[in-house]
C-alpha cells in the first residue's frame, strides 16, 4: 500500500517527460524549420540548410518535412511549442498576420538592409499585409500555357507561334482535336483539368477582370468574371460534356504519372506551373513542349499570368526570433535563394539573379517564366483573410459552370453574396482588434530594429 502512491506518481510522469525539451549539448542554438516539401524539393532546401549550418557555428537548423503543416502549426502554436521557422504559400499571410501567428519582419529587414527593390515586385507584395512585411519570398512559380510542339507540327500549326488570344485558341481546336466515335483520342485544351482545380479563380484575369477591388469589396459579378466562367462552360457544351468529362476526371488520380493526359499525348495544351518540366522529364522525357503566356481574350492582356510564391516566416511564440532571422537572411541572400530555386527548378523571386543561375537552371523554359513574373500582368490571390473559403467557393462556381448546373452568372452571384457577407464579418472583427494588434506589432518591430535581445 505504501508503495502504491509513489509508483502511480512515477507512472504518471512517464508520458509527461516526453514534453520537456532536451537541452542541446553542442552549445549551439538549435532551430526547428518546418516545411511542406518532400522529394527533390526538400533536398533543395536541405542543401541550403546544410550550407548555413556549415557557414557558422552558432546556430544549427533542423529541417523537417511536415505534411498538413498549416494544421500542425495551428496546434503547435496554440500549445505554445511552435517551430522556429516555417515555409508556406503566400496565401496564408493575411490570416496568420491578423491572428498573430507570425511576426512582422520590418525591424529585422531594416537592420539587414533588405528592401522591396531587392525583389520582383509581385513576390514582395505577396508578403505584405497592413503595410508590414511578414515573410520573405524564397521561390516563385508562374502558371503558363504549355503546349505539345509535335502536335502543333502535325496539325500544320507553327510550334514557334502558339495562340495569343482565346479566339485563336478556339480556332486551332478543330485541327488538334481527335475523336473516335464518342471517345477522345486527343483534345486541344480544357480550362478545368481536375476536380478540385488548382486555380478555379484564375480565369477572370484572362478576360481583364478582377476578383476584388483591393480593399473590401469582391467583384465576382463583374461582366468580365461572368464572361470568364461562361467561357469555361462553353467547353463541355461545345465538345460534349459526357465525352470530355473522363479526360478531366483522369487528371485527379493521374497527375503525377505517365498517364497524365498532357504527358501521354491526350491533351495538346495545358495551363500549368513551372514545375511541369520536372514531370515531363520524369514521366515523358521525349515530349517536346513549349511554354508561352496563356492566351487572353484581347491582345492587350497577353502576358497575364498567375504567380505563386513560397514564403519563409517566423512564427509568433518562437523563443529566439533573432536567431530565426539569421537563418532567413541566409536563405534570402542571393546565394541561398539561387541554390534553392535551382533545386526547385523555379523562378528566383529576387530582382537581380546571376547569369550563372539562368544559364545552369534545370528548367528549359526559365526565361519565359522569369519574364512572366517580371511582367506587369502577374496576378495572385486576393489578400483577404477568408481566402480559403473564397478558394473553395470559386471551386463550386467552376464546377457548377462546368457541369451546367446553374448559369455562371447565378453561380457567381451566389458566391459573391456569401463571400462578401463573410468578408464584412471578418473586416468588422478586424476593425475591433486591429488597434491592439498594431500596438503589439509595432512594439516588436521597434525592438527588432534596435536589436535588443528578445529573450
Amino acid at each position: 500500500m505504501r508503495l502504491v502512491v509513489p509508483v502511480l506518481l512515477l507512472a504518471l510522469t512517464v508520458p509527461l517527460s516526453g514534453c520537456s525539451k532536451a537541452p542541446a549539448t553542442d552549445g549551439k542554438i538549435h532551430l526547428k524549420y518546418w516545411a511542406v516539401w518532400n522529394g527533390f524539393e526538400l533536398e533543395a532546401m536541405r542543401s541550403v540548410v546544410d550550407l548555413f549550418n556549415r557557414s557558422q557555428d552558432r546556430i544549427h537548423v533542423d529541417l523537417l518535412s511536415i505534411s498538413f503543416l498549416e494544421r500542425k502549426l495551428l496546434v503547435a502554436t496554440a500549445g505554445g511549442n511552435p517551430p522556429d521557422i516555417f515555409s508556406l504559400g503566400y496565401e496564408w499571410v493575411v490570416d496568420y498576420a491578423q491572428k498573430n501567428a507570425i511576426l512582422p519582419l520590418d525591424g529585422y529587414l531594416e537592420r539587414a538592409g533588405i528592401k522591396r527593390e531587392d525583389y520582383i515586385p509581385v513576390f514582395w507584395d505577396q508578403c505584405l499585409f497592413d503595410n508590414r512585411v511578414w515573410g520573405l519570398p524564397i521561390n516563385g512559380s508562374c502558371i503558363a500555357f504549355h503546349y505539345n510542339k509535335a502536335h502543333f507540327r502535325e496539325a500544320g500549326l507553327d510550334p514557334g507561334n502558339p495562340p495569343k488570344t482565346l479566339a485563336e485558341l478556339e480556332a486551332i481546336e478543330p485541327k488538334l482535336n481527335r475523336f473516335s466515335g464518342n471517345r477522345i483520342e486527343r483534345l486541344a485544351f480544357i480550362p478545368s483539368s481536375q476536380d478540385p482545380d488548382w486555380w478555379p479563380y484564375c480565369w477572370p484575369w484572362f478576360f481583364g477582370g478582377e476578383l476584388w477591388d483591393g480593399k473590401d469589396k469582391l467583384t465576382l459579378t463583374s461582366p468580365e468574371c461572368v464572361e470568364a466562367y461562361e467561357w469555361v462552360a462553353s467547353f463541355p457544351k461545345r465538345l460534349g460534356a459526357a465525352r470530355i468529362q473522363p479526360l478531366r476526371a483522369s487528371f485527379g488520380n493521374l497527375f503525377a504519372s505517365s498517364q497524365n493526359p498532357f504527358l501521354s499525348g491526350k491533351l495538346s495544351c495545358l495551363f500549368q506551373g513551372s514545375w511541369m518540366a520536372s514531370f515531363v522529364e520524369k514521366y515523358a522525357p521525349g515530349l517536346e513542349f513549349g511554354v508561352a503566356p496563356m492566351p487572353t481574350k484581347t491582345q492587350d492582356l497577353y502576358g497575364t499570368t498567375v504567380v505563386e510564391g513560397d514564403v519563409i516566416f517566423i512564427p509568433a511564440g518562437t523563443k529566439d526570433p533573432d536567431a530565426s532571422f539569421e537563418f532567413i537572411k541566409f536563405v534570402a541572400s542571393q546565394r541561398g535563394t539561387e541554390l534553392f530555386c535551382t533545386g526547385m527548378r523555379s523562378v528566383n523571386p529576387r530582382a537581380v539573379r546571376s547569369e550563372e543561375f539562368m544559364r545552369n537552371h534545370p528548367n528549359p523554359n526559365i526565361e519565359q517564366f522569369d519574364a512572366l513574373a517580371r511582367g506587369d500582368k502577374a496576378h495572385y490571390a486576393p489578400k483577404v483573410s477568408i481566402w480559403y473559403e473564397m478558394l473553395d467557393e470559386m471551386q463550386v462556381v467552376l464546377s457548377q459552370a462546368w457541369l451546367h448546373q446553374i448559369p455562371p452568372a447565378r453561380a457567381l452571384a451566389k458566391a459573391q453574396d456569401r463571400l462578401q457577407a463573410r468578408l464584412e464579418q471578418e473586416l468588422e472583427r478586424w476593425r475591433l482588434v486591429s488597434r491592439a494588434r498594431h500596438a503589439e506589432w509595432d512594439a516588436f518591430i521597434e525592438k527588432s530594429r534596435k536589436g535588443v535581445p528578445l529573450q
Binding site: L74, D195, P196, P246, L247, S250, N253, Y388, D392, L403
Partner: protein
C-alpha cells in the same frame, strides 16, 4: 461506511486515478472546452471572445452548412438500409453450414481491416471513369461509362459503395449473435412445421433483435460522422455534392480557422445523433426482445 469499506474505496479510487485523470484531461475537459468555444469567436491562434449564441444563429443561415447537413442525411438514408440489410444477409449466409465457411467468413471480414485511407484510394481507382474496374465491367454489358465521382448525380451513390464494402464488423457481430440463438427454439418451430422463412421471422429475428438495435445505433452514428472516405475521394466535390457534415466542420476549424463556429457545429451534430438514437430507441422499444429478462 465501515472503516474497511472506506479504505477499500480509497484504494480503489487510487488505483483508477490515472484513468480518472486521463478521462478528465482527454475527454471531460475537451468536451467542456468545445462547448464553451462554441459560444465564442475563436481561431485557436488568438484568445476566444465570448459571443453568446452568435455561432448557432449564424449556422441556421449558412447555406453550406445546411447543404452539408442535407448531404449527410441523404447519404445516411441511402447507406443505412444497404449496410444493415447486407451485413445481416451476409451473416445469415455465412452462418449456414457449408464447406470452406471459415475461409468465406475471413474473406468477407477482410475489407473492414483495410485502413480507411487505403480504402478511399482503392475506391477512387475502382470508380475512375476511364481506368476504373467498375466501368470496365459495366462495359461488358454495353453500359456506357458512368462518371461516378465527377457528376452530381452519382457522387453520393459512389460514397455508399465503400460503406457497403466495410460492413465486416457488423457482420461478425450478427454472426456471433446468430450462434447464440437457442437450438431448442428452432427444434420447437420445426416440430410445428415452420418454414425457413417463418423460423427466421419468428425465432431468429426476435432473438437477435438487441444486436440489430445495437448495430442500427452504431451504424447511424458512423454514417453521420462519415469523413475520411469522401474527404480523400472527392474532397467534397463536385460542387459540394459530397460535402458531408464532418468535412465541413473540419474545414471550418482547420482550413478557415473558425474553431468556435466548428465547435458549434460539433454540438449540433451531437444533438442530431442523440435525437436520432432516441428516435431509433423509441421506434424499436416494443420490438426488441431480451431473453435475459425472463
Amino acid at each position: 461506511m465501515t472503516p474497511v469499506e472506506r479504505r477499500d474505496l480509497r484504494v480503489g479510487l487510487l488505483f483508477i486515478s490515472p484513468w480518472i485523470m486521463g478521462f478528465g484531461a482527454f475527454m471531460l475537459y475537451p468536451l467542456g472546452a468545445s462547448l464553451y468555444y462554441s459560444l465564442c469567436d475563436y481561431s485557436v491562434l488568438s484568445t476566444p471572445v465570448f459571443t453568446g449564441l452568435h455561432n448557432y444563429t449564424t449556422l441556421a443561415r449558412d447555406d453550406v452548412f445546411l447543404q452539408a447537413l442535407s448531404n449527410t442525411l441523404i447519404y445516411g438514408a441511402m447507406a443505412l438500409p444497404v449496410t444493415m440489410v447486407l451485413s445481416l444477409a451476409l451473416a445469415l449466409l455465412l452462418h449456414a453450414p457449408f464447406p470452406g465457411r471459415g475461409v468465406f467468413r475471413t474473406v468477407f471480414f477482410l475489407p473492414s481491416l483495410v485502413p480507411l485511407v487505403a480504402m478511399a484510394i482503392l475506391w477512387k481507382w475502382l470508380l475512375n471513369v476511364d481506368h476504373g474496374l467498375i466501368n470496365h465491367f459495366l462495359g461488358w454489358f454495353e453500359i456506357p461509362p458512368v462518371d461516378w465521382l465527377g457528376s452530381v448525380r452519382w457522387s453520393k451513390v459512389s460514397m455508399v459503395l465503400p460503406a457497403a464494402w466495410g460492413i465486416g464488423g457488423a457482420m461478425v457481430i450478427y454472426l456471433a449473435s446468430l450462434q447464440d440463438v437457442p437450438v431448442h427454439l428452432y427444434e420447437a418451430a420445426k416440430l410445428d412445421g415452420a418454414s425457413y422463412w417463418r423460423q427466421f421471422w419468428h425465432v431468429t429475428l426476435p432473438v437477435i433483435s438487441p444486436v440489430i438495435y445495437f448495430n442500427l445505433i452504431m451504424t447511424i452514428i458512423g454514417l453521420l460522422q462519415v469523413f475520411v472516405v469522401p474527404y480523400i475521394m472527392t474532397e467534397g466535390g463536385p460542387s459540394r455534392s459530397t460535402l458531408f457534415y464532418v468535412q465541413y466542420l473540419y474545414d471550418t476549424a482547420f482550413r478557415y480557422l473558425r474553431m468556435g463556429y466548428a465547435c458549434a457545429m460539433a454540438w449540433i451534430l451531437f444533438v442530431i445523433i442523440l435525437g436520432l438514437t432516441l428516435l431509433a430507441t423509441w421506434a424499436t422499444a416494443k420490438r426488441i426482445y431480451y431473453m435475459a429478462e425472463e
